[in-house]
Symmetry: C3
Subunit: 346 residues, 3 copies
């Protein structure tokens, strides 16, 4: 969609500091690759080097960078958010489909809103409710008794098992599985007995769930994602996990059973979270950390070990294997240096 | 299903220590949320605080907790197993389906038992055998020549590649892939040449495979999961891995090629297991550990690094990068303290 | 296919050092399990113990092992590559299918080559191009405007989202998702605003993508896999990642946004790569390492911590949590030993 700079500034919460308000913007692009008609943005300071020579028609940036911009400027206190809004306005969203493809299989007693789209190969089991504007791209499975809230979008090959509740405006990317049985095992003299997984999954409004992410149903109570949660790809959420509103979690993270994560948290990629613990609101966990105890205070927590050259690492690791002994040797040195008397007596 | 307490105690291997044997139990619930007609259980001591005020009609617990329970008690030496059995008795399993949905595609020369269910969108290639009572929910692919043993359940969108053998009573959760080609590469002067993956996958009886877990076929011999193995979600099992009977593995663990894991092992989540090694029976590996060498003795093994506040961790990690040097400095101090003579000479 | 030893040696780049050139080879097998008519190979020295008693009709190996082989020998400077070629010659590839299964759903304006196969349950959206010889096993989704290059193979239930470009001879294993939206989020006072993901994914020729691997589309530019890249199962490739030609990456590795990985790299399993960094050509990263900064020189890099018995590890880890303090204590000891004068003054 074509928008003038003046209109755009208004709609994205920015201020047109430089440039013609009637200049037409037709597309978005990076600072490096933008040309006439494109709007770009500067948020990450690492990309400022591209600002000076950008060919964009306009740039969204913080007021302090305005003077360095060779072209029109929309100044914003949060240029990344303003850019996100601009891009959503300029680039047309794919048009919505309606109806039921003849290659879908819908069991009895379902309520499918007339404005929803059920793509080819979709399987809708008994008693499912599909609300207004829902899009099921194709190859999706929605198990008996589940509810898909209005304007939610299940991309291709998503599986929602039985009796799951999905909120409104939820995006679920391809291959995600919501509501598989939790990993509940009781050990009977060496052999495993399955513990029936009788809870479900409740996904709040405005949640996003990445490709091939898996969210297990609860054992007795439900697994819960509150509103606005963002899950990247290939995240594993075990049974009875509770994730607070507006928390974002990066890819490949695994969350063990009954862990409770607060609101407004940011969890990095490849993190492991042990079960039956609590993480407070506003906690940040950096990538590849292991959260092994409850975190009660907001803040940043880490244990990821950055790589170094293999020879150095092997030497260091060999010492790490013996670190307790090394510490005892230091204690012993300290005792010896603490005075001849102690040593003679001790 | 409604059961009396007396009957239930008998069937779950417990003893009715307190309460009316004719009391009717209609559902299961947690200690916190149970009400009249519900049976609950106490296994994890962390939940004992909820026992004192539970509204459950009865609780399954260890004899030593019996006195603290305000209501009827089924005492069991293994309350979690007894609860699992009770829940399976009380809560009706979903009824089985039979027949072939018209939206399934079945090639020639297949044997599909009349008591099996082939759901919509399933694809059954040439020469497949589907035994009695098998349930294929929908969207499943079973490649040429594979066999699915009696009473196994492939949930939605499961892929079983060609010539794979699945045992009896195997549960495979949505999106799991059994029998993709192993990652076999030969390096020809920088470029990769694929090594044909000519083995298969053999899955024993009573195995469970979690959502989006992947199990590659062997290169020449087969990848093998013995009976009773439990795999959680998003586990990667590479070619020619062998997993011993009744071993349970938590989510996001990756097992490299030709690793052999013993029987009755418990492997935590996010663990990495290097290829071509052996793990003995009865080994426990805690979460996010890296198993880099064979483990020959039963026991518990670890290397996961729990997170701490980021500032402390960065300081500690900076030292870890130099740990070998620190150890040498300690050695040097020890030498200097070992006596003036050494120092003068050395 | 039956081949004589003489012919085979010629075709795999080896030399028939011992044995009858007219001996017929009908199959491949391991050294341990081979019998008459089988050819085997020795590449990993760990398996040399099986060479002495092998019953294979012939073995492919390095010239220096020739004398230890009891049977016919094809000597090769790269026996694993020669074996891979031999196996591909001897074992017939599955025959290709042609046509469109009636259970596939193909939208308008697609170009599907007559020599391609579109299996049951496949969904081909508007404007897709499917080139010569392409195989879509079944249950695959190809989004609007995507191109699948000649002789590529999408195994069951693969999802290729809209406007993605897949090269020639690309193998994509079951459940992989190419082109889901990147995890682009702007934080607006605690709530997340989606940043439209307007780039795509470009996959070069001769790439392999493992089961349930996910590759996100770029935010503005494309995510790129150059020719010959090999990705194992359950790898997560975030938006705008660029992977250089002939790089191989093992399972469960996660690559954050805008990371650039060089050519001819080998990345181990379970590795985490932080975003916005660069890895040079010919870099090797061992399993479960965290790459947190750019790597500018070829070489081997590591930070995976191998497991040890849990008691020792807990002791060592307790010290690691205090490592900075320990280092300061060593510094203090060094200062005290450096001479009474310093100590008195300092």
């Amino acid at each position: 969609m074509v928008l003038t700079l003046g209109k755009l500034a208004e709609q994205v919460g920015g201020e047109l500091q430089k440039g013609d308000p009637d200049c037409e913007i037709t597309a978005v692009a990076t600072l490096q690759n933008a040309g006439t008609g494109d709007i770009s943005f500067l948020s990450n300071p690492g990309y400022k080097k591209y600002l000076y020579k950008t060919q964009a028609s306009a740039v969204i940036l913080s007021p302090e960078n305005s003077a360095d911009c060779p072209t029109a400027v929309i100044a914003s206190s949060n240029p990344y958010v303003s850019y996100a809004r601009a891009a959503a306005l300029i680039v047309p969203a794919p048009s919505l489909k309606q109806g039921v493809h003849p290659g879908a299989a819908i069991e009895d007693d379902c309520e499918v809103d007339a404005s929803a789209w059920i793509g080819p190969g979709c399987i809708i089991e008994r008693g499912v409710v599909i609300d207004a504007g829902v899009q099921l791209d194709g190859g999706c499975f929605v198990g008996a008794g589940s509810v898909i809230g209005a304007h939610s979008h299940l991309h291709a090959n998503v599986v929602v098992c039985h009796d799951v509740s999905i909120g409104m405006r939820v995006n679920i990317y391809p291959g995600a599985v919501i509501g598989g049985d939790g990993f509940g095992l009781a050990n009977d003299d060496g052999k495993w007995v399955n513990v029936p997984q009788l809870g479900s999954v409740v996904v709040g409004d405005d949640v996003e769930i990445g490709s091939n992410t898996t969210i297990d149903r609860g054992a007795l109570e439900d697994t819960v994602l509150e509103e606005g949660v963002r899950l990247d790809n290939q995240i594993q959420v075990a049974h009875n996990v509770h994730i607070g509103a507006h928390t974002a979690i990066a890819g490949c993270t695994g969350i063990s059973g009954s862990a409770t994560i607060g609101k407004y948290c940011m969890i990095g990629g490849g993190v492991g979270i042990v079960g039956h613990l609590e993480i407070a609101d506003h906690v940040v966990v950096t990538g590849m950390s292991l959260v092994a105890r409850s975190i009660t205070e907001p803040g940043v927590y880490s244990s990821g070990v950055p790589a170094q050259d293999n020879v150095s690492w092997n030497r260091n690791y060999a010492r790490l294997r013996q670190l307790d002994k090394l510490a005892r040797r230091v204690q012993s040195l300290e005792r010896r240096l603490a005075g001849g008397k102690k040593q003679e007596n001790g």
